[in-house]
Amino acid sequence: MSGRIDRVALLAVPGLAYLAVIYALPLLMLLAKSIQTAEGISFSEYRAFFADDYNIRVLLRTLRVAALTTLLALIFAYPTAFVMSRAKGPWLTVFLVAMVLPMSLGVVVKAFAWSILFRANGFINSSLQWIGLTEKPVRMLFTETALVVGAANVFLPFMVLPIYAVVRQMDRALPEAAASLGAGPFFRFFNVTLPLTLPGVVAGSAFTFSMAISMYVIPSLIVGERQQTLSMLIARSFLYLRNEPLGSTISAVLLGIAIFVVVFSSWLARRLGARS
């Protein structure tokens, strides 16, 4: 019996070996390189990175933009997932197409479309002026708000789909049972519905947040060089400045944040899974 089980386990070897060599090993080598200097192991690159106010501002901006993007996407996604789980026929098709079709429009063109919309003479400004909300065009392109809106647009399907998957499988009878026992809508939501859907929220938020901290194309097209993010600093140090130690250090910082998000979210998911 144990021989057969071992044979099944062997099937994982090609895929895992591939990821170990072509993914984990290069990342470990990058981490090693960031603490290796001519004089041996040293954290001087990190000290230099964190001592610079500019880098701290970029780091905080990256985290803030990612958090706001995740929040905006969640506000849009959560009610939508519930509506989708109840929708039938042509309505369901409309929602599903809206989730998947935009993925066929590459992120480059999508971000560019948003940069057109946000221009001073762009569609949004013309609409605002036409409605009479503003007389002069509002400066939108190159602002953090524009970046958050554009990023939320790109990542929204990745927030909706995990929540939709959980909501669809949720036992509808539970909130109804709570209602029949006299629980009000707010009590039902916070004590029954929300805890049941939390695993989907955690999965979607972790995914959106980790994509938003490392996005590169979207900020390059919507905010440009004026407001750098960590990814833009990495690209600049490798592709333009040719400063590999600096690039490796920033990469290691970003990698650290990403690994933390992966570990923390899977821990949270397991805890939620164990509770329910």
Partner: protein, 266 residues
């Protein structure tokens, strides 16, 4: 249903419809701009024309990039489907420690910063003396596509009844044949979903590819960004509209064969 429930339901529908409009907006902008007569992106277009579709014929650089990206997406997705099937069977059926950790590890590239993976691969390939840009890109793109495949296949195999495989074996099928003839057809929606998402992720990848390209091997997103910086005319919109049409065809095919909901949910 109470008054409050009704208000919540109405608000949810408003948000959901807003969501659809928000998601479709870039597609409308792109398609509208592709039929514009103006060489700059103005909306609504002053006059309609097909000139940017005609001009695509002369953009040979763009076509090379399309072919390279389709090639990379197809080959890396197929390899990932094979590796992913094997690994998912092992994680679902195996009885060994650390299966959770293996699943987390195999899906983790989805959440790693693309630029960092790209830099790490660049330095690694340089170290081992790999210079061929196509091979480097392909190896990198498998890292992009494999986690998409693993995520969907792991979820659907957890719900698959493996006694069907045992039954096929009792009837005299070999194990590989039973997998191909019984497991794969039963999980067709999962294969379609994971294949589609993996393919699109590879087609759209910029951050890993940018470090692995050379002058002759430029993938579509890289070429498009370069093109936008050099001459931002609507021929890109025309080309993207063509790709959207292609996606519509795939979605219609998927909806007809397995149903849209099963296709998207695996």
């Amino acid at each position: 249903m109470t008054q409050t429930d009704r208000i919540f339901r109405a608000l949810s529908w408003i948000v959901a419809l807003g969501c659809v409009a928000f998601l479709m907006l870039p597609i409308f902008i792109t398609v509208a701009a592709s039929f514009s007569a103006s060489p700059v992106y103005t909306l609504p277009p002053p006059e309609w024309s097909l000139r940017w579709y005609v001009s695509l014929e002369r953009r040979s650089g763009l076509w090379d990039a399309v072919v390279l990206s389709l090639n990379l997406a197809f080959v890396s997705t197929v390899i990932s489907l094979v590796l992913g099937t094997l690994a998912s069977i092992a994680v679902t059926r195996g009885n060994f420690r650390g299966r959770e950790a293996i699943a987390t590890f195999a899906v983790s590239p989805l959440m790693m910063p693309g630029l960092v993976v790209g830099v790490a691969l660049l330095q690694f390939f340089r170290e081992i003396g790999l210079r061929d840009a196509y091979v480097s890109l392909l190896l990198g793109h498998i890292v992009i596509t494999l986690p998409f495949v693993m995520r969907t296949l792991l979820a659907s195999m957890a719900a698959f009844d493996f006694s069907m495989i045992d039954a096929a074996r009792t009837l005299g099928m070999s194990y590989p044949k039973a997998i191909l003839r019984v497991l794969v057809p039963n999980l067709a929606p999962a294969y379609l979903t994971s294949g589609l998402f993996a393919f699109l992720a590879s087609m759209d990848n910029y951050p890993i590819s940018i470090f692995l390209t050379d002058a002759r091997n430029k993938t579509l997103p890289i070429k498009m960004l370069q093109y936008l910086e050099e001459q931002p005319d609507p021929s890109l919109a025309a080309m993207s509209s063509g790709l959207i049409l292609l996606a519509v065809v795939v979605l219609v095919f998927g909806a007809r064969t397995v149903g849209l909901n099963r296709m998207i949910q695996g």
